[in-house]
């Protein structure tokens, strides 16, 4: 007991020394920056943040801690951030399109607004892609459309979450191709992979990186981009095949509204540099590295909001009809 007690006192003294050494340098950043990820550890947002972490630390000359606040498809962290985070640049948060567009429209208690923060950057993009089993009898998008027309509602499309990029893109495909599909939401990209391999769903509207990572077991029918992807050169775009479908998920970073412009600038520069430094690694993992900052970043949100507006409206009408 006595030994433990003495040990405790020594520790307390040590802690005092560590706390005292915090302040010192001048100008932002003076203390560690907290980078909040609103999803689980090990997810794509987390892995990317950890890749960025060490570069950010070098550029900013400060510790950057990645913390997780998962829940509600991101909404828990986002609502708390908009409510409580101080606009001093020491708390930054990862944000996602279309989550921040769809959730405030679809949920009464989302607790945040799409525009309620200052965007620093959108640093990468994962386009949607329609993917099926490699050895199945669907080889092309035409096969897929034909099968879905023959058997309305029988073709299942797995996707990650509801009102997500995957979900909205599936609805767009239904609309443009005149199909009736059955969208089966999953709790993330993870569980979709075995579901497709085991034949429990016929296809998945997913991110192109799934098609890259599981090239051996899966066939990507089409990607939702303007031009073909460098990592999947043989896969046509939806546009080539006659369907105007371009979309996917963007990941970025935001700070609270009212953060001083100098700090926003410093963070923006740091993130731009970091994005360039990790670009190769990101491309290998199947991400598209295209960044948007400042006004462009806000414009991107506005554009995507308009892009999904009609589909979200359709959804709301369907719901109203069912009541």
């Amino acid at each position: 007991m006595k030994k433990i007690a003495i040990g405790c006192v020594v520790l307390a003294a040590l802690a005092a020394v560590v706390f005292a050494s915090g302040a010192g340098a001048q100008g932002y950043p003076q203390k560690p920056i907290n980078y909040i990820i609103s999803f689980n550890p090990g997810g794509e947002s987390d892995v990317t943040a950890r890749l960025q972490q060490s570069h950010l630390e070098k550029i900013l000359g400060q510790t950057v801690t990645v913390t997780h606040k998962p829940g509600g498809g991101g909404a828990v962290a986002w609502s708390e951030f908009q409510r409580t985070a101080k606009p001093d640049g020491y708390t930054i948060i990862g944000v996602n399109i279309p989550h921040i567009i769809a959730q405030p429209i679809e949920r009464k208690d989302a607790g945040y607004t799409t525009e309620g923060w200052e965007l620093i950057i959108w640093f990468h993009f994962t386009p949607n892609a329609l993917i099926v089993q490699k050895d199945g009898n669907i080889k092309t998008l035409a096969d897929f459309v034909k099968l879905a027309k023959e058997k309305p509602k029988a073709v299942t499309v797995a996707g990650s979450g509801s009102y997500s990029a995957n979900h909205l893109e599936t609805l767009r495909l239904e609309k443009l191709a005149g199909l009736q599909l059955t969208y089966v939401p999953h709790t993330g990209t993870g569980p979709i992979v075995p579901a497709l391999m085991g034949g429990h769903v016929n296809s998945t509207m997913n991110y192109s990186m799934v098609g890259v990572q599981y090239k051996d077991q899966m066939r990507t029918l089409a990607v939702a981009t303007d031009e073909r992807l460098a990592v999947l050169p043989d896969v046509p775009t939806f546009k080539e095949l006659g369907y105007d479908i371009v979309g996917g998920a963007y990941r970025g970073v935001a700070v609270p509204k009212g953060t001083p412009p100098e700090i926003v600038k410093k963070l923006t520069d740091a993130f731009v540099k970091t994005t360039e430094l990790i670009a190769d690694k990101q491309r290998e993992m199947g991400f598209e590295v295209t960044y948007a900052t400042g006004k462009q970043a806000a414009d991107l949100v506005a554009r995507m909001k308009a892009n999904y507006a009609d589909i979200l409206k359709d959804l709301a009408e369907q719901r109203a009809k069912k009541q």
Binding site: A5, A15, T67
Partner: protein, 153 residues
Amino acid sequence: MIRNVNTDLVAGTLGLLLSFAFWWLIDPEITHLSIVFPAAMITIMAIVSALLVVKGFSRAAERGNLFEVGSNVRVFVTGLFFFGWAFAIGILGFFVASVLAIALIALYLALARRRVSMAAFAAWVLIAAGEVAFFYLIFTRLLHIPLPEGWFL
């Protein structure tokens, strides 16, 4: 202590109240996909609770003494301390709130069996500070989990 309570009846009533509460909280605009499972579970909960109530009125009803172990006042006060601790973290900050809470809980519980001198209590505050520092350092420095700050650390 509360003697000879019909626990089946209590549990059943509680279950019925809970099922009613959940049923009442269902948003009428929610879609089928989101509510089909909870609705089924609420029904099962209600059935199980109803069976418990029926059993409570039968001869097979279980009876038992509630809160029969030790001092219930101490349980109640300890509970208050815990909730107060959590509130204080938001106001005082994690470090200060926890040192205070640990020292005070230790003092309160120790008084049940022994006397505590001022000197001893002062030592306890230091020990508490050491304990909290141990966890504080591990979490903030090693695991990079920032702990809440308030007026103080």
